[in-house]
């Protein structure tokens, strides 16, 4: 099997793929990017926390028109994972308002997006309808 790497730093692969956030130890604010300090309280101490892999769609759009190289249509959404908001695509669903609903329960899934010249495969995440 070829080497696999997560598409983005805050995705953890393995038997149970999940997202991780940096949580401010002073105020609990969570961030997915590399931090200098906390936007909530300016604290500089963070710990890594696992984000629940189940959530519900809090907002979505179906993008039908995008920059060259981006496949359309696709569903972009904000998913509420136990109080932490996650930006994601909704995958494994027909990209139509008949099939994507506000409040819809979804769960994290992963999939390969391609290999580079060295044969390393990048794995991205999305959320798909749960049940």
């Amino acid at each position: 099997m070829s080497e696999q790497i997560p598409f983005i730093n805050y995705l953890v692969l393995g038997d149970e793929p999940h997202l991780v956030a940096s949580e401010c130890t002073a105020c609990g604010a969570r961030f997915f990017d590399r931090r200098n300090a906390c936007a909530g309280c300016s604290g500089t101490d963070f710990k890594s926390v696992d984000i629940p892999t189940q959530g519900e769609v809090r907002a979505f759009t179906i993008v039908a028109f995008a920059a060259p190289g981006i496949e359309v249509p696709f569903v972009s959404a904000i998913v509420d994972c136990g109080g932490t908001s996650v930006r994601t695509n909704i995958v494994n669903v027909e990209p139509s308002p008949d099939h994507v609903k506000l409040g819809m329960p979804v769960k994290l899934t992963t999939f390969p997006i391609g290999k580079d010249d060295e044969g390393v495969e990048a794995i991205n995440f999305g959320f798909e309808p749960a049940a």
Binding site: I5, F7, I8, N9, Y10, A29, R30, F31, F32, D33, R34, A39, G40, V57, R58, A59, F60, T61, I62, V63, A64, F65, A66, A67, G69, I70, E71, V72, F74, S76, A77, I78, G83, T84, S85, V86, R87, T88, N89, P97, L102, G103, I113, G114, D116, D117, E118, V120, A122, N124, F125
Partner: protein, 401 residues
């Protein structure tokens, strides 16, 4: 706070649309000279200039405007605050007057955007030959379209849908109805980029950009400039009766940025900073939303207009859908919103927008808006928001008895 009252003495926008024969400076100069003439003053009277232009490259626009129509050696501030750039320029000039440093100030916003397409914010670079982590999220390749969307029509679609999820009642048809209102209003505005009545079917059946925003529900990229001349209350008293009568009082001038809240770095929160700005503005002006005779708010997308009814407290919290359905925001309603046609039809030359909406309100408060005049308008509010984020709110009041 400041000891000086601030008034708008003169203001003007150019026609919005495609100006093939005119460059950025042509447009900026046209608006500037017209605003000065409207106020009965000249470049020589100005004590400060603040100007913004986002798409023109590295040009220092404030100095460029002076070189084009009057180099007087005054302090020049080049401002940049996304879609709130014009409002920021206005506020910089106003602060200088409030602080007693200037009697007169000039604010200008200008943009050449026609043909820029709908994809502001969206881009994805070609994938590399080997995965390499870049940026603060450490992505190995372009994220737009792979982890959500970066395009503005999509971001603001989600903002509208989020409101719908929270309070219910907002669907494709409702957002399209909001767009129908603004396109209908635009038919009375000769300076609008588009001034065509559109049916609900035409709006919903047009090209889908990012559900539920179709093309006519998105702000129109266009060329345009707007300028305003500000004067202190003390100086105004020394000017002619006519200048005093037509002067518009800036009862509140507020600028906010977005305070930290959960999710605000995942999906921009355009609500809290607008609500905070509105609250401060009502307090500073000593008026309430019920006193407003007209509102120009930042309808960069139909989905955005809905949330700002609520954020500007034009309705009860959570009541934006009912507010719109009551007809309140049509020009015949209790709180006419975007009688200019709004950004969806009037157009959105980014840096000009935050002054153009002030011009629109002033036009009505002076009773000079012709066929689209809101009769007897005395108090109006102009709102803009730029992502990243900045929100400008100005409350304006008629100065004539």
């Amino acid at each position: 706070m400041g000891s000086e009252d601030v008034y708008i003495l003169g203001t003007r926008t150019t026609k919005f649309g495609k100006h093939k024969e005119h460059d950025t400076l042509d447009l900026a100069t046209e608006a500037t000279l017209a605003a000065l003439a409207d106020g009965g003053v000249t470049m020589k009277d100005m004590n400060i200039i603040a100007a913004g232009n986002l798409m023109g490259g590295a040009m220092a626009i404030a100095q460029a405007i002076q070189k084009a129509c009057g180099q007087t050696g005054i302090p020049a501030y080049n401002v940049s605050n996304a879609c709130a750039t014009g409002a920021t320029a206005l506020r910089v000039a106003g602060m200088s007057i409030k602080a007693g440093e200037s009697d007169f100030g000039l604010a200008v916003g200008v943009e050449k955007l026609a043909g820029a397409g709908l994809l502001a914010g969206g881009s994805r670079k070609q994938d590399g030959k080997s995965w390499e982590r870049t940026g603060r999220y450490g992505a190995v390749a372009g994220v737009d379209g792979r982890i959500g969307t970066d395009i503005m029509p999509g971001v603001f679609a989600q903002i509208g849908m989020e409101y719908g999820h929270k309070y219910g009642g907002a669907n494709f048809e409702l957002f399209a109805e909001i767009s129908r209102k603004n396109h209908s209003h635009s038919t009375l505005n000769p300076l609008a980029a588009y001034s065509k009545e559109m049916t609900l079917e035409e709006i919903m059946g047009d090209v889908m950009i990012a559900y539920p925003n179709t093309r006519p529900m998105c702000s129109a990229n266009c060329d345009g400039a707007a300028a305003a001349v500000l004067v202190s209350g003390t100086k105004l008293k020394t000017l002619s009766q006519e200048q005093q009568r037509r002067a518009i009082k800036v009862s509140a001038s507020i600028l906010t940025s977005d305070p930290y809240e959960e999710a605000c770095q995942v999906l921009p929160n355009v609500n809290t900073l607008t609500r905070v700005a509105a609250k401060q503005a009502y307090e500073q002006a000593g008026v309430g939303p019920e006193d407003l005779d007209l509102v120009e708010l930042h309808d960069c997308f139909a989905t955005a207009e809905l949330v700002h009814y609520d954020n500007l407290m034009l309705c009860e919290e959570g009541g934006a859908v009912d507010f719109f359905k009551s007809g309140a925001s049509w020009r015949t309603g209790s709180t006419p919103v975007n009688v200019s046609g709004g950004l969806q039809s009037k157009g959105h030359p980014i840096a000009a927008t935050g002054i153009a909406n002030v011009w629109e309100v002033c036009h009505h408060l002076r009773g000079e808006a012709g066929p689209r005049q809101i009769e007897g308008a005395r108090v109006g509010l102009a709102h803009v928001i730029g992502l990243a984020s900045a929100c400008g709110v100005h409350i304006l009041e008629s100065n004539s008895a």
